[in-house]
Symmetry: C2
Subunit: 557 residues, 2 copies
Amino acid sequence: MAQPQLKRIARKEKLGRAGKKAAPKPVVRLTAHDLAARQREISVSEFFTKNRHLLGFDSPAKALLTTVKEAVDNALDACEEAGILPDLLIEIGEISETRYRVAVQDNGPGIVKAQIPKIFGQLLYGSKFHTLRQARGQQGIGISAAGMYGQLTTGKPIRIISKTGPTKPAHEFEIQIDTKRNQPVPVSDRELGDWHVVDPTTGEKSTVEHGTKVELEIEATYKKGRHSVDGYVEQTAIANPHAKVSYVAPDGERHEYARVAGELPKAPLEIKPHPHGIELGILLKMLHETKARNITSFLHAEFSRVSGPVAEEIVKSAGLPLSMSPPKAAREQAEALYNAIQAAKLMAPQSNVLSPIGDELLIEGLKKQVTADFYAATSRSPAVYRGNPFLIEAALAYGGGQLPADELVTMLRFANRVPLLYQQSACAITKSVVSNTWKNYGIQQARGALPTAPMVLMVHIASVWVPFTSESKEAVASYPEIVKEIKLALQDVGRKLGLYIRRGLREADAEKKASYIEKYIPHIGIALQEILGIDDKRKEKVCATLKDTLERSRKNE
Amino acid sequence: MAQPQLKRIARKEKLGRAGKKAAPKPVVRLTAHDLAARQREISVSEFFTKNRHLLGFDSPAKALLTTVKEAVDNALDACEEAGILPDLLIEIGEISETRYRVAVQDNGPGIVKAQIPKIFGQLLYGSKFHTLRQARGQQGIGISAAGMYGQLTTGKPIRIISKTGPTKPAHEFEIQIDTKRNQPVPVSDRELGDWHVVDPTTGEKSTVEHGTKVELEIEATYKKGRHSVDGYVEQTAIANPHAKVSYVAPDGERHEYARVAGELPKAPLEIKPHPHGIELGILLKMLHETKARNITSFLHAEFSRVSGPVAEEIVKSAGLPLSMSPPKAAREQAEALYNAIQAAKLMAPQSNVLSPIGDELLIEGLKKQVTADFYAATSRSPAVYRGNPFLIEAALAYGGGQLPADELVTMLRFANRVPLLYQQSACAITKSVVSNTWKNYGIQQARGALPTAPMVLMVHIASVWVPFTSESKEAVASYPEIVKEIKLALQDVGRKLGLYIRRGLREADAEKKASYIEKYIPHIGIALQEILGIDDKRKEKVCATLKDTLERSRKNE
């Protein structure tokens, strides 16, 4: 970035009478009381209705994608939490050019009746926010926001059918949101008993034993292509080889993504917070809310990586009595404890709680997306930001006739196996790619731009809590630790690529030299024939020998 | 972007038995009831504590800036709403290398006592959210979020002193947030009577007649430079020439930004929503909440640009009775009304409600920042996105020895006169600059990058509701209408720059030719002397004439 010498307009001298000079007499327009009368509470639903672009509903095309994405995220999470290999049916039907019906059905564990209204009709309600575990959903906003968007644009409620087991009755709900109070308003609620479904393509009937179906009518537009629902579903299938995904596009075309891996990925574990990742304010809050009898057991019970002896040591070095009751800690005492925690040598957060895709599946995934000459992948060890374990994986596909040579590289970004399709330039992944020096690997790159090469670059972040730049979860926030890890992953695959490219260049160079010499072999033959007076047969033999020698020297080069 | 031909991994044939193949027997880990037990409400304070990067608190350096910014935004808004020329004192004191005290004092109308706890101790509470009027604050989050961040990192409450007039007593509050309930908890609350302040530099005492002072202790780091508080205060002064700003940096250095304009900018007006900018769901909600007796008067009263006759016409074309009671409209009737509104020809939203900076002050502002060879500015007419009027202004400074020639241009972004210092690449302004074709104006630009030139580029968006990409208000969301207007503004200043650069190139070219010829004039003189046998005096005269002719021809070129 250019950093021009900015001219100071300030007078820097110490001013004797700053702030004392009377301001010109103003025309008072509003008094403090006028202003007070305007103050009002804002419900979180009202907030997000007005700011719906924060949730990914800023354009009709994106609204369609976001709606599908939120429903699919929930479906995959629910299946995995219940240990069920996911089997998804995504249907999008065109009602008009600007209105679509979206339905996502899963074979998950279902949702108990009493929870349905709040899960689908209240923003900031969910099971994942208060835990630290790798999952797609985390905020308790997504699907209810999609419902709110449907209500906002078409007036129609969100419709849910759910069944929790073969012997349990299915329930059907239609739910609206009272945005002023951020509360669900069930419009209808009936028991279905058995739940029969009809295959949208074949018309065949079957019975659902357990699972959930979400259906919405929204204002939207549908486009084909990589940034559309089509691309999202395809990339989702690649990052989730254990899922079977059937997708019926608005044009009626059916895409089947078969299950590639027969096993669920290693189940990610829930962890307690690491003491080095919490703030003083959180410590204070935890001290007041804990059920532990004394600070020592509090530290041991509420945090990870704090054994009994370590807890004692921390409390002692904070100068506090070991048996002190946690809620009785004053702010100063909590601060002493906080400082002792920061100073304590502790093991790094558990790293076995994350579920990476892995080198092999990364390359497999890329191979399914694009045919290239060279593939490389890396899956880094876990690192930590704000106490949260995370890990970065990167892969690239390079060369081959399919990829354009004079375009910027194509980026594929994933967070907890969810493809990120929008807000590319706001993402820590993109920023790391731009600030990496690709010229080191023989790749062209203009200052401040993505590299220019026939290349697809894929980066995945897995974490117990992915920090996104907005509620729409389209871009990863640039925490320094995350940027650093992404760069190391890029350098790893970059170096492999550099070796390949340099070998290619060397080979091309040798090839050029060789073909150059080859061209002259017949002339050498003729010259030798003239000088030595040998016959044609002898000449051919000499030429063949020369060619052979050349070949061998080339191989040994 | 490269758009490789992606390989389909889907089998596209119509599958006869899709979904019927039994999935492998899963190991059920969690049931619907287990999952239900984990569902919980999430308070908006808890949400933003965990997602504090959404509010601009992702790093200690940024936290300092965000805190100052939120306090200054509120101070300037309050002064302007009350018709008072703002007089601000910003003090930052270093407590330790990672802990700072921030205090911002204004001469605004003050805040009535009863409102103070909620304004500073509850997220989503404010006066500006439910209105459509150009202001810095809009969400009711900023200052209480700063307080929450202080509490989170230092455990200290936010401190407020406010006085609403010379005869009113000042009040001092210390407030914390109960994040679980998103409610203020006043820690202390006392009446001060008179409010005496001491100048931090001179030690002089004075009495405050009205105004508010906010003080926080936060975990932060301080750096100098354009992306720091220093740069923010400087740019704020430039975009607010009617404000007097005193800033005491952590190193004790005092910066005084004098008031340049003696008058407040034109007061922005509050408007009603434009009918073309609302969604069906909002219309439904308004129909149920209105006090109007019939739909005709409802349309006329609740929207801008709908006269009585126009309202009647809309209701008629929707096929509804003119006297229909608004809350009685069913969803289908509301939809008919909505469609009739969309089809109706209406005047564009009022454009006189915005308060631009203006061409002249834009260039003045740039001149104060940087010395350059060429300046250009444009202030466009208002346009509309989602029914909200907005306008774009752009200015540039080019050339001169101060700006580096081989770096990317420096961007200065403003929204409602507030400088935006972070998230540059996520911003619609940056995206518009990158996608503009700067080569047309003789400026270098790599694909996907900012142009490379000795140039500072300034863009300002003024709107009754600026859509930001996150709650931290650091980048403008890419609504198509906004991107289009920014591009038109850039093209406008770009063309002016192009003319200047081309003229410069032409002149440089002529200069080169002329100096080339000039060099040969003496030789021509000698040659003529030899050929014609003229004397030295005559030769000199011929040379002078030749030089003169050359000069004149150059000027006429």
